[in-house]
Symmetry: C2
């Protein structure tokens, strides 16, 4: 054998002999049937004790790399296994995902860069998160032994959180639920996933809003659904345009994402009647309407539903922080066993510590207080934006009326000339202003033109300067157009 | 109109008028077209201010329940919507889950009762959880602002946890991975789910071990797979019996669940060759072999894989606690984009706080130290059990050799007479001893007879008494048999 075994340096010498011989067998430098030096000889050659070599040989023998034959010494017993994994990373042999996943783009994740004027959508202001209270709640639960008491647990989630939520939702959102109707999920996205899994069979039609929320559309596609986008107007989803064979309809009635429209009572009634006539299920996403700046909300579809056809989904991502990964669904009893099974088979249940801390926060009234305070702060930002859009952009753009949430949608005033949202977005970005185009959330082409202005990440005092820069980008875009 | 509006008691009077009228419209006591009393009259009748009634009417009008006609007063504009949801819970109209979910049992969750001698499987000892260190780590991360810095984040998981894990896995488990090859999941179960989602198309064949882990079998069934159980012997899964068309093979090579067998090196090589020849993917579940009591482990399939066909799954549920919901997978680069997309669409990412605390625990060496200490404790329990099974049950049962994990499997000695595991389990339960039957984890019938003895929940000093009671139950079972 011509394998060079080195044992320079420190550390477990038997282990290093073992590894070098093993690697030599694996990559074929030592071949099946070759005889190894006697332990005495290798020990002398390497200037180690014979025991050291024996330990290495014994381990290799125990693992099947070597075999000892009485009177004939020790032989290689295993065959090489081809190139190392790291060398085969792009091999044509590598495993491939199923077809549907090849069409889903995996956006390369980059750490968020600081932006001077950040009007992007969907993130609450971390500065408003009640960090001190949360720290005390988490510390209290850890001291109280929440983790030690926890076995693999109820897939529905921690009972005291569900009880607290049932009370809170009844008062704050007119949602009609007991703790047994609630399932805690890892954010609203997991709630959508669980609903999709228990309802969708490959080829089923699912209706979504257009413009709408892309991660839901993509999710249902990966579950094998045929996803049909349905237009939205100032009263919300066009119920008259729903595909007759839809099994599931996803809507954001309190604050349509992203236009901000509220589903009118007429449409609510029509949607429920439609679902009844077509034996469909409605998935009601109430993602940010806890932040409400004006008149009282319409009752959710969930509380208008008489037939057990509505699943209501809420989240703490906007009222608290997305990093907590805490959301929930309220489902009719007919779906609950399947939803619990889906949660159990997906990830068993949510983590205990966050659930327990949140239960205490909701129960103590701290959560409602926090939402009230944050609503004041966001309301001021929203007013500021509406006012400044009027002042700086009034001749070109107007704000779609909206009374809740963390963003507004601005659209071109009719007859005010050409508007190219993508160009505006790029141009604004170059001036340090992050905005998103409505078209990003639209399937239909040509997409409705418009911009989304989020106020979760921007300081109120930065609003005027940010919008001034945006106004300039819009003006430049108009001048660059032929029309 | 003959609707009785009551406003006794405290609270917002306009709100109570609103609610009573709304409910009357909803349940049909007030019908579309009916005229309401003038605000002045209703105010007088109820002895409230006219403003109070006006506020209620305006809200009902805004929501579409009422309409005002100039000169003709206020009319009901909406129709009733059938019985209240809570009254319709069992209605035949209620939503139903897809067919596959109707076959999955949803075990009713009950709070775990205290058991005198708890040999049940799968739960580590909460008393060994390093609660003080964990408290400090969590508090430190909260102080460090981990939550506030967190936007919707990388679906792969927190980078410093993946980096720490890559180093740890290389040293502790010979897993060949960089941070980019790792994805953090909510426990091993979610890792299985993600792998199943990106690989399985409806009708695909998936091979699992038998006896094996039921939640994985059920999960793959709900994903539309045809799940084929493959027998296990003392060398692990019978590679020669794998179905030729399997797309995915799920195995527990380090410590077969539940028999405890180790997949031999020959079988490992054969399994990898089989996967290569059949273009299949291997899902390697290494759920508890960090607790190792004897000789060094064989290398995982992941590090023997040259073709990028193995996905390795690990978890902190056994080394730390299931309540943390923290696990991970190591996948070939060809699957990573799809797995990241699946994670993103399923629940975006894991919660930040737990990931950050764990990153620090692994990086500081605290985790490795904890595992070493816990291994000593569990090793002592395992020895105690093996020794006592020999002493108390040696003529009837023997322990399947096992060098890792948190449970052992005991099977009847050949020729020692009849043995009815289910009867033993029931009988033992009546004496305060919790054990599980091997048959519970077996698909093939008749199931292999045997019992599982977990040592995550039992105090070492309770082992002899518990096994004495178990021995009596076994003796009674034998006498009750005809043979």
């Amino acid at each position: 054998m011509d394998v060079h075994v080195r044992i320079e340096g420190r550390g477990d010498r038997a282990d290093r002999i073992y590894r070098q011989l093993r690697d030599a067998i694996r990559d074929g430098r030592l071949r099946r049937g070759e005889r190894l030096p006697a332990t005495r000889d290798l020990a002398a050659q390497l200037a180690v004790s014979r025991t050291t070599v024996t330990v290495a040989y014994e381990r290799l023998t125990a693992e099947g790399y070597l075999a000892a034959r009485v009177g004939a010494g020790t032989y290689v017993a295993a065959s090489p296994a081809g190139p190392r994994r790291s060398e085969a990373r792009d091999a044509r042999t590598a495993a491939r995902p199923a077809a549907v996943w090849r069409s889903i783009r995996d956006p390369l994740w980059t750490e968020p860069r600081p932006i001077a004027y950040d009007f992007s959508v969907g993130m609450p202001d971390p500065a408003l998160f009640p960090i001190e209270q949360w720290r005390r709640l988490v510390a209290g639960e850890l001291r109280g032994g929440i983790l030690r008491s926890a076995h693999y647990a109820d897939p529905s989630g921690l009972k005291r959180l569900r009880e607290a939520l049932a009370r809170h939702l009844g008062v704050a959102r007119s949602v009609d639920a007991t703790a047994d109707d609630i399932l805690i999920a890892s954010g609203a996205q997991q709630a959508f996933d669980l609903v999709g899994r228990v309802l969708i069979e490959p080829g089923d039609v699912v209706a979504v809003e257009d413009p709408g929320y892309p991660p839901v559309r993509q999710l249902f596609e990966t579950l094998g659904a045929r996803v049909v986008p349905v237009p939205v107007d100032e009263q919300g989803i066009r119920v008259d345009l729903l595909p007759r064979d839809a099994r599931l309809v996803y809507v954001t009635p309190s604050h349509q994402f992203p236009t901000g429209a509220v589903l009118s009572l007429d449409r609510r009634t029509a949607l429920l009647a439609w679902a009844s006539a077509n034996d469909a299920v409605i998935l009601e996403d109430d993602y940010d309407s806890e932040y409400r700046f004006a008149d009282r909300p319409l009752d959710p579809l969930q509380s208008l539903d008489r037939e057990g056809r509505v699943v209501y989904v809420g989240t703490f991502s906007k009222t608290m922080l997305p990093a907590l990964r805490l959301g929930f669904l309220v489902a009719p009893p007919s779906l609950m066993p399947a939803l619990r099974s889906a949660k159990r088979l997906t990830d068993w249940h949510n983590d205990y510590l966050t659930q327990a801390a949140m239960a205490r926060f909701v129960d103590s009234g701290g959560f409602a207080r926090h939402v009230r305070q944050a609503t004041k702060a966001y309301g001021a930002r929203q007013r500021r934006i509406v006012e400044q859009v009027g002042a700086l952009l009034g001749d070109r753009m107007h704000v779609v009326p909206s009374v809740a949430g963390l963003h507004v949608c601005v659209v071109p005033v009719e007859g005010s000339g050409a508007f190219d949202a993508d160009r505006v977005v790029d141009d604004a970005a170059a001036s340090g202003v992050a905005v998103q185009s409505l078209g990003l959330f639209t399937v239909a082409r040509p997409a409705a033109e418009g911009l989304l202005l989020g106020f979760g990440s921007i300081a109120p005092d930065d609003v005027p300067d940010g919008l001034r820069l945006l106004a300039r980008a819009i003006a430049r875009s108009a001048h660059a157009q032929p029309g």
